[in-house]
């Protein structure tokens, strides 16, 4: 395993990808009404907030609500991911009849997204749930597919991918 | 005639130390010399590198028979004693039935003779049933050979009763021994009253509960002129009171148990009932005072308070567990390892000084000289060993020293001229 991270997307690349995804969301959903952005754990929060900001620029009449979803209690793994403080679930609006766009930084096995779908059930019955991720790195173990992707990045299992506002790196 | 020859050791008795060998026959010492020639009829006990001393006398042992034979019997306790180098033990009277009648005393003595491993000297009670209300029949019991009387397990609470007991006992030449504990101060107590019990949330046994009775009895001795012995002193102040009383010429003797001069109350931090004992383990300052008391002779004897308890009784919460620890097989090693005293002084505290208090100085603690009864201990003061509870001869396993590395071990024990322990193995 290399110790030096390799930059795959620069900060500007990420900013452009976020803008493109925001437009794709609006196009797919015929507007920004009835949308709710829900960021997964900590990794997906920055994307939800960045998307909300771009969406507001595109259509200042609409403010898309942003929620946070912590799925640690719904995971199916044996050793559960420890809770990271500060990411208590907060869904600001009821989800009935709304379109939820789940956001996460890196899509890998799909298990976290499965847990998120289960957790979302506690907060209402969305009309639809769509998934937006900055990086899809492959190796899916469940039938989960993203609706919106910043970059498709083939990786080997033991590589680590990090995606933030500052860029995407792999090592 | 076949003899028992103890060869190549260092003889140590109250007259001093010299290299030598001993020949024993017919229960007595028949020859003492630098070397002794052996024949093939003789049994030879190799004492190279060892101290050869008069056998030890334990003033305070619970043999549990009659009444609690699942914890220990007179036979298993005698075996543990012999392995510990003891040729005589005073059997505490808190049996069931109590040793407050001639019948029970004779039973205990007979069981000891049957085991044939050491002298079992039954103690009598100060009060009937140890209930603290009526005097036990000292005259009758002393005529049956009982010399030491105690309510051990309880102290005699009533000062008037204790005064009468001393006055009555005076002309009989017996010794009353006190377990000093003012019961109203120790109700429900589980361990020493101090910072550890405060933290652990347990009722405490304050030092003053012992010291008040030590003080009281010293004054009663002063009043009546009758001698007394104090069992298991455990506090610094108790030692000081006894030191002052002896300096004033009062006829007082005292003993201390090895667990009180080697373990502190912090041993109970894990709530392990193996460390629960009465009186309780106390503080480093108390340990220092007990060691000093042994060194300057304020405390006359090391007495183990050997208290076996069946394993399941110690596997309950601390407040429900019975107090008491094994002691016979670890006493010598703990004294050698932990006491900064000349070996002769240690042996004195194990041998001739307790022999005098127990009234058996004519048979035990004798000088190693031709004609004397052959009650002899041979021990290696440098032998290293580790305490393994499963290897102890006692029927019980409640030693607080499991896994401890100790220095000093008995190699042979000769009781009444017979080798009852050879190379660390009991012969019966």
């Amino acid at each position: 395993m290399n110790s030096e991270p390799r930059v795959v997307l620069s900060r500007d690349d990420v900013r452009r990808a976020v803008t493109r995804i925001a437009h794709e969301i609006v196009e797919r959903n015929h507007g920004a009404a009835d949308l709710v952005l829900v960021g997964l754990q900590r990794g997906g929060m920055w994307i939800a907030e960045a998307l909300a900001s771009v969406l507001h620029t595109v259509d200042p009449t609409v403010t898309v609500p942003v929620g946070a979803l912590d799925v640690s209690f719904h995971r199916d793994d044996v050793g559960l991911r420890p809770i990271v403080p500060g990411s208590v679930t907060d869904i600001p609006v009821p989800l009935d009849g709304r379109t939820v766009v789940l956001t996460d930084d890196v899509l890998f096995t799909g298990r976290t997204v499965r847990a998120a779908l289960e957790a979302l059930n506690e907060y209402g019955r969305p009309r639809a749930v769509q998934l937006a991720v900055m990086v899809d790195r492959g190796h899916r173990e469940l039938p989960i597919r993203p609706d919106f992707v910043g970059k498709n990045l083939p990786t080997s299992r033991d590589e680590q991918v990090a995606a933030t506002l500052d860029g995407v790196t792999i090592r | 005639m076949s003899r028992l020859i103890i060869t190549g050791g260092t003889l140590l008795d109250h007259t001093g130390e010299r290299p030598g060998s001993i020949a024993v026959a017919d229960g007595h010492i028949v020859d003492v010399a630098t070397t002794i020639d052996t024949t093939e009829h003789d049994t030879v006990l190799d004492a190279t590198g060892c101290i050869v001393s008069p056998g030890f006398v334990d003033l305070h042992v619970h043999l549990r028979e009659p009444g609690k034979e699942e914890a220990e019997t007179i036979e298993t306790g005698s075996r543990a004693a012999a392995l510990g180098g003891f040729t005589a033990v005073v059997a505490m009277p808190n049996t069931d039935p109590a040793q407050d009648s001639v019948a029970v005393v004779e039973f205990v003595r007979a069981q000891g003779v049957r085991a044939g491993l050491c002298d079992v000297l039954p103690a009598g009670c100060i009060t009937i049933g140890r209930a603290g209300e009526r005097l036990a029949p000292y005259g009758e019991l002393s005529a049956a050979g009982v010399h030491l009387f105690t309510d051990d397990g309880n102290g005699v609470q009533d000062p008037q009763l204790m005064r009468r007991a001393l006055e009555y006992a005076g002309p009989l030449g017996i010794v009353l021994a006190q377990h000093c504990e003012v019961a109203s101060l120790t109700k429900g107590a589980v361990m020493h009253e101090g910072s550890c019990c405060s933290r652990l949330g347990l009722p405490g046994w304050p030092a003053i509960a012992e010291e008040l009775m030590v003080f009281r009895d010293i004054e009663l001795v002063r009043l009546t002129g009758v001698r007394m012995h104090f069992l298991h002193l455990s506090t610094a102040r108790s030692v000081q009171l006894v030191r002052e009383a002896k300096a004033q010429g009062l006829p007082i003797t005292a003993e201390a148990a090895p667990h009180h001069f080697t373990l502190t109350d912090e041993a109970l931090a894990g709530y392990d009932p193996l460390f629960k004992v009465n009186p309780p383990l106390r503080t480093p300052a108390d340990i220092a005072a007990l060691k000093e008391g042994l060194a300057d002779g304020t405390i006359d004897a090391i007495a183990t308070d050997h208290a076996p308890h069946a394993p399941h009784t110690k596997e309950v919460p601390l407040d429900e567990a019975p107090p008491g620890m094994l002691g016979l097989e670890t006493a010598l090693a703990l004294a050698i390892t932990e006491l900064d005293m000349p070996l002769a002084h240690i042996v004195g505290a194990l041998s001739w000084r307790p022999a005098a208090i127990a009234g058996v100085a004519h048979r035990h603690g004798r000088p190693l000289v031709v004609g004397e009864p052959a009650n002899i201990t041979v021990f290696d003061p440098a032998a290293q060993w580790t305490v393994v509870p499963a290897n102890l001869a006692s029927k019980s396993r409640n030693t607080p020293y499991a896994g401890r590395h100790l220095t000093g071990k008995v190699r042979h024990t000769v009781f009444d001229g017979a080798a009852v322990v050879i190379d660390g193995v009991a012969q019966r």
């Binding site: 899509l107 | 910072s195 347990l202 894990g270 309950v316 919460p317 601390l318």
Partner: protein
Amino acid sequence: MSTHAKHLLAIDDLTPEQIHHLLELTDHMVEVSGRSIPKVPALRGKNVVSLFFEDSTRTRTSFDTAAKRLSADTMNFTVSSSSVSKGESLRDTIETISAMGVDAFVIRHKSSGAPQMVTRWTNASIINAGDGWHQHPTQALLDCYTIRTGLNRRDGFDGLHIAIVGDIKHSRVARSDIQAFAALGARVTLVAPPTLLPPSIADWPVEVSHSLDPLLPHLDVLYLLRVQRERMADALLPSLDEYSAMYGLTAARAAKLPPHALVMHPGPMNRGVEMVVDPGELPGSAILHQVTNGVAVRMAVLFWLLGSGSDLKGDV
């Protein structure tokens, strides 16, 4: 992130970081408890067995609710002393029940140290729900959580002055609270007559006062302990009336507290003794919050011991 532990026996087994972590975890559990269906699958398949050798409906149901909200299976045994004295020792009871497959025991016992002793006889995690006079760690944690939210002190208790009043000597709640409050940085004063204080507390992180009134205007939290009738029989108190006159929370004393101050009690209360005024009339009373927070705190403890495992690589 706090390292996982196997048991929760006493507050002084926890570092301040671990205490903070458990309080933060409790925030998550409060959120779960607020959902329309307050249940998550986090401890599905785990067996949590309550063994209460001293009954306490309140604590026992609090733990049971907490375990069920995490989808654990539960079994409850209230062992009255008569059934234990029928010959089954504590060890036998534990080993028999363990053989059925237990992930955690929640134990309350009249003997200090009993839960610690139990760790020898089973591989399960042990949670101390109160042992003799020794510790009641989940009570202390819920007390800390109540203060944290009631006084909005998420970063710790530096500068807070907390008085604990009553029978400290016999109180496992007091021993746990003292350690927890001090670990979080609070100034703790014990208020009691000398007979109700433990024998040696010189090395405890507390101040001691025998007089309550001068302290009242300076307190952020007034924590009252139950005083029992039995203490009079042991010559610890002349009478409960005298205790009440000197240390009881009367309306007059309550009026001396600063407006923001919290009044707390672990329950059950002796009305007219330590609590003279009706707590319903006290704006600062956090007593009902203590009860509500109890379930969330116990959920956090169960999850921390049984669920939060080792770190995963970042897979999604």
